[in-house]
Symmetry: C2
Subunit: 233 residues, 2 copies
DNA sequence: AGATTGCATATTGTATACAAGAAAGTGCGG
DNA sequence: CCGCACTTTCTTGTATACAATATGCAATCT
């Protein structure tokens, strides 16, 4: 049982936020599985706090879409269907296009050189073959573009959407045959932004998401097949 | 004092949700003003419940961006700056374009005729000059398009964004000189969707938001001017 | 006079107690 | 052996009690 996630006491943060972060992380990393019930006293005992902070944390997770409430039954970790994932990706595609587009006109020289460095760092990371390193480099690259838009709300929304599919992020990063493609896609995005070519930037961003979608959907279908097989023994 | 909003008991809904809806409405309609503090005992007494449901409702409002938490100080109604409004509208523009685009290929015949009817109803409403009626007709029109996309997440996000600027909605609906323009814009959107012309639909949606943005920003600037004047007496 | 410290009070943060409803088990009758 | 009703227990929903901290005021010191 790797099931025992513990609180990282942050002392000055309210307990509800500590619990919120802890539970969110547990859901996103798969320690808490889709469909699993979140029982208040159980969590309270486990984390060594009372039910109150637990409940308040759940209210926030509920609005983030990570848990669903069943009236008079309690909270459970939200299941992600292929449909809901497609819905999320459909929105993300539009927002990522917007981000690339906005970044073209708003990026600073400094950010532009950071972006170049980040793209190179990502390429180096793919050589190391350590998925965590690659993932970090990927996030760093996209964070710079997002920052360049200067739109806080946009940033917040995209982060939340990305979160919904966090557990599938490694799927397309683990596949080494895709690495060179990812590097090319990044460089295409970088060049489009460099040239202030909004059309090209949007399209590059769209293609980037499209490819992720394909990989993730394929993975999900496989997972489902496996589950069926398991049930049919 | 129009300050006394009351609970609409929904009996089967948990109190926290009733409180949540009540407070949200109060914020959106301006009964609770930006910067105003939300004190738990005060609200609890006023609404005749204990602090617990109040707190849980505030947690949700917090995540919706309608209130901001100040640690150990409490919650207050979020202020909306011109910048944050522009941020919101920038995102909404992209999402409304997406909605119009998706609706083109996914709308059913039935929804199409509903949409035609809604557009006509909106035109009739502008003749009555009752702002509430007009607002309802406007919402109905856009709801049909949104529904046609079949994307639940998209719907949820756009609703939330629209909410942020709810109190300014009447600004562009009250101005009668704009009515004929709005009617034209709606009919443009309807025709584009009817013809399954995605490009045209997106553009029509974009223009629709652009015009709203102009009206709202102008209104906000005016409001701010007024405030300054008030302070400088 | 101004600043500073200490106290009183108000307000949030957390824990616990109590109420009510749902689910699961148990026993009885068919 | 199966099904239905009753009871028990578990879990959420709500209220309240207690703790910790910030704020404002006043008195005192410089």
């Amino acid at each position: 049982m790797t099931d025992d996630f513990n609180l990282v006491m942050d002392d000055f943060l309210p307990l509800r936020d500590v619990v919120f972060n802890t539970l969110r992380k547990a859901i996103l990393t798969g320690q808490l599985k889709p469909g699993e019930r979140l029982m208040e006293v159980h969590l309270a005992n486990k984390l060594g706090v009372s039910r109150t902070p637990i409940r308040e944390a759940i209210r926030k997770l509920e609005l983030e879409g990570l848990v669903v409430m069943i009236p008079r039954k309690g909270a459970e970790v939200a299941k992600i269907s292929e449909k809901s994932l497609k819905d999320v990706l459909e929105v993300r595609r539009a927002l990522d296009e917007l981000i690339a587009n906005l970044a073209c006109s708003r990026i600073t020289r400094e950010q532009l050189s950071e972006l170049k460095e980040a793209a190179e760092a990502f390429e180096r990371a793919t050589k190391t073959e350590d998925t965590t390193t690659i993932a970090k480099a990927d996030i760093a690259f996209h964070d710079i573009i997002m920052e360049a838009t200067g739109n806080l709300r946009l940033k917040q929304l995209v982060n939340n959407l990305a979160e919904q599919m966090y557990r599938y992020r490694f799927v397309y990063l683990k596949d080494e045959t895709k690495h060179s493609m990812l590097v090319k896609e990044h460089s295409r995005i970088y060049n489009a932004i460099l040239n202030n070519d909004k059309e090209a930037a949007s399209e590059a961003a769209r293609i980037h998401i499209d490819n992720q979608e394909k990989a993730i959907i394929a993975h999900i279908r496989m997972e489902m097949k496996e589950e069926e097989m398991g049930g049919n023994i």
